[in-house]
Assembly symmetry: C2
């Protein structure tokens, strides 16, 4: 039975990894659609959301199958339950990437972003994609240091987000309120995407070890 458990758990983790990959590439393309006001790219993303629904359904089925195995022990139960939570986090990342694509589509043929904030979103997009890849790596390796490293990119995202707000608020913003509203919401989508990626990394480590990444890396350092 333990063999069956570990095989099925690795199948679940593989599905979660695919979900992470899809969220990352979707955010990559959504950012491209946003920066280049590329309607085709935006529409392709928005018309093709069945891939994620299928993966979410697969992940939940795999997790239910694990729960239905005879008498999983306490640690295993936590592992499987966190599988559901990780699936929900990644599904939300995907939804946020689609929100970005929707703004690009809505404003087309105009660019949604005034020139002076494009650089912020190029960088936020790059960080978001890297966070999704990082979360995927943590799913593969269960490595606590890799999970903690996600915090660094998340901090960078928060910094950009704060700077973006100061651009909106402090300078003479010449682009009007409508553009400010778009930029505000878009900034929030990227920031929340990053938060969920960090949550995925933390959950993976906790499910694998029963400890937070800080507890593990701290205890390694104090060895």
């Amino acid at each position: 039975m333990r063999t069956a458990y570990h095989e099925q758990l690795s199948e679940l983790n593989k599905t979660l990894g695919q979900m992470c990959e899809l969220s990352g590439t979707t955010m990559e393309h959504a950012t491209q659609a946003l920066l280049q006001a590329d309607l085709d790219v935006a529409e392709r993303l928005l018309e093709d959301s069945k891939g994620m629904s299928k993966l979410v359904a697969d992940a939940e089925e795999q997790a239910f199958r694990l729960l239905a195995l005879q008498a999983p022990v306490a640690g295993e139960l936590r592992e499987v339950v966190s599988g559901f939570q990780i699936a929900a986090d990644i599904d939300r990342m995907y939804a946020l990437a689609l929100h970005v694509a929707k703004v690009a589509r809505m404003r087309h043929p105009d660019p949604a972003l005034p020139e002076e904030v494009r650089g912020y979103f190029a960088e936020m997009g790059r960080l978001a994609v890297r966070l999704a890849q990082g979360a995927r790596d943590v799913l593969d390796t269960e490595d606590a240091s890799a999970a903690l490293a996600l915090d660094t990119d998340d901090d960078a995202m928060d910094d950009l987000h704060r700077h973006l707000f100061s651009v909106l608020m402090d300078r003479e913003w010449p682009h009007g309120v409508a553009a400010a509203v778009d930029v505000t919401l878009l900034g929030r989508y990227y920031e929340r995407f990053a938060d969920h990626a960090v949550a995925v990394g933390r959950r993976v480590v906790f499910q694998a070890t029963g400890q937070t990444p800080e507890q593990i890396v701290g205890s390694v350092e104090s060895d």
Copy 2:
């Protein structure tokens, strides 16, 4: 064993109900802090967030205890897993209510809201509180019609949210970009709060019956 299962499930649902209640009252007070620029109310909410952490931990422990009961059958597994998901939704509602309180605190002693959008937020706050109460009622009754009724309030919330954006975008908005950013984010917090309340209602019905609220109410009507 079935008795133990049902007793523990009802204990879990009681905890989830308390969480819903706390999210609702927190949003009620946060809205009050926002509308009246009341720093004391905002700070009291923000200093006192341990109550929800405790309830979330209780709910998760109760759900794990249910999973650890010998061999819960398939429907029971789904019921318990959706308990975790419901807890996450309500926890997020609470976090969004605190976000509202934070904006009120940040802008104090100024009001965060220009006079002309106060009415929108008074109404969005009222709807949010009613949605939290409604979700709590669905937790108590598992009633599909009550879950569907949440959609009506959520639609009203979405309408207000759209109108709010048209106020921001279409008229001569005289309050500057900073106020527009606040109003944009606040509007989103209320809208997401409503989405989570609707999700709670849907999950409760699905966990109890294996059907969506539409399937049930539809099948009743076609009897």
